[in-house]
Symmetry: C2
Subunit: 230 residues, 2 copies
DNA sequence: TATATTTGTGTTAATACTACACAAAATAAA
DNA sequence: TTTATTTTGTGTAGTATTAACACAAATATA
């Protein structure tokens, strides 16, 4: 066959941020080079020759924003011939969910600036990154309904309302507090502690904790969390 | 940045075959060139410079097996540095489901031979194609439970048992005929005709047909088919 | 004519989901 | 110090869905 092929391979990361009482946000960089210089974009870049895709996306993320993240899930591969005006670049996209205040954002040479943006108030994005973002948000919401992925984002011990708020924020809609609580508790991997939150106003809340061991055991058994009703 | 990168981009197709009373099968080619010469592999190959990923996978499939298919869904992108012994190749994999007897299988120069194999009796596969296959099978089963993807595989008018059999075959387990029928009929896109099957033994069956219009309308409304119980 | 095969059909019990409101415990304000 | 505000914690009843289950009818085949 002996076919000449010159296609570049890139990775892009859609990193969502959530923190208590906060909004859902996404991490963007302002591009420091052409094309799309000074336009906001998803962090990402070309894969090195001997580097796995996962390693590449984590490296780029680290370089461009200072954020290190250990779980990113592959989202989709975008490969339209003209998605990059320079030459053919296919992009394997990943997404993840973190607590923004765990990181000190820090841009490097390729990226002038890195910043969290509320998902409800995004700037114009470079390339087809809006499409990638939309795909990621849709997937994040869908995933939340059958896997309680949000627990990493809470404190080790948290009031139940934090979890409610997380779901409501990501899904972008209110949930029935009683039904939600019943459902989550039925899974049996959230446990009540005997501690009480140091609180602001209102009745003080019991603190709960996530039993990762039980959760992982269930996952391994192929258990399927059905939070669809929310 | 000016980074030299020489990574090849390939696509691979996991094409499942099902036909009435048949097994679930998958389309493989016997490689005619090194590496893995004479080993069975998924059809696929390098993407051309100005060709979309979807176009590439359809083209390769056509070239290597003679099968044309209009709906392939992106599955996953495999990119471990050493997955191809020659040089770095990442593969974007796709999967689809067809009726084998709709096609005359025909190999070309790159592939000595193309053949359907029962998924329960696969030969050793080249590269990481076994992993790709496993991923595809898992996804196919999962998908079947929330989208009735199998209707394309049936005759335009089919006895209900054909549909039952399709589900049982793909899922690899028996289903409750009554409950399954009730569930499917509740979706309201399968309609009874007044025709009767020309049959073999047993009580003759009414023929049903799939109302694609209704189905598409539901899909567009974001409807979610829940066949999870099967 | 008897046997085997396949289709067609309904009910009941158990489970899961939805919708909904108010008292209790604390802080903040008057 | 009293009152208002905020937030937590909790139960039930009606509805819908699921799961489990068996036998008669219609035909082909032996």
């Amino acid at each position: 066959m002996a076919l000449q092929q010159d296609i570049k391979v890139a990775v892009d990361a859609v990193v969502f941020g959530y923190e208590s009482k906060g909004n859902l946000s996404v991490l963007l960089i302002k591009r420091g080079v052409e094309p799309f210089k000074n336009t906001w974009a998803l962090p990402g870049g070309l894969v090195l020759e001997d580097e796995s895709l996962e390693a590449a996306v984590k490296r780029e993320l680290k370089e461009e924003t200072g954020v290190t993240i250990d779980y990113l899930e592959q989202l989709y591969t975008f490969g339209k011939p003209k998605r990059d005006p320079r030459n053919r670049v296919i992009s394997i996209s990943y997404f993840g969910l973190v607590r923004p205040n765990h990181f000190k954002i820090k841009a490097d040479t390729d990226a002038d600036e890195a910043k969290w943006f509320s998902v409800n108030d995004l700037p114009k994005l470079a390339f087809d990154h809006k499409t990638i973002f939309n795909t990621a948000l849709k997937r994040l919401k869908a995933k939340l309904l059958y896997q309680p992925i949000g627990f990493d984002l809470l404190s080790a011990e948290f009031p139940f309302s934090d979890l409610e708020h997380l779901y409501a924020t990501i899904l972008g809609e209110d949930i029935d507090r009683r039904n939600f609580r019943k459902k989550i508790m039925s899974f049996d991997f959230v446990e009540e502690t005997n501690k009480i939150a140091q609180q602001g106003s209102g009745r003080p809340a019991k603190l709960f904790k996530f039993n990762k061991k039980k959760y992982d055991a269930l996952l391994n058994d192929g258990f399927y969390f059905d939070i669809k009703f929310v």
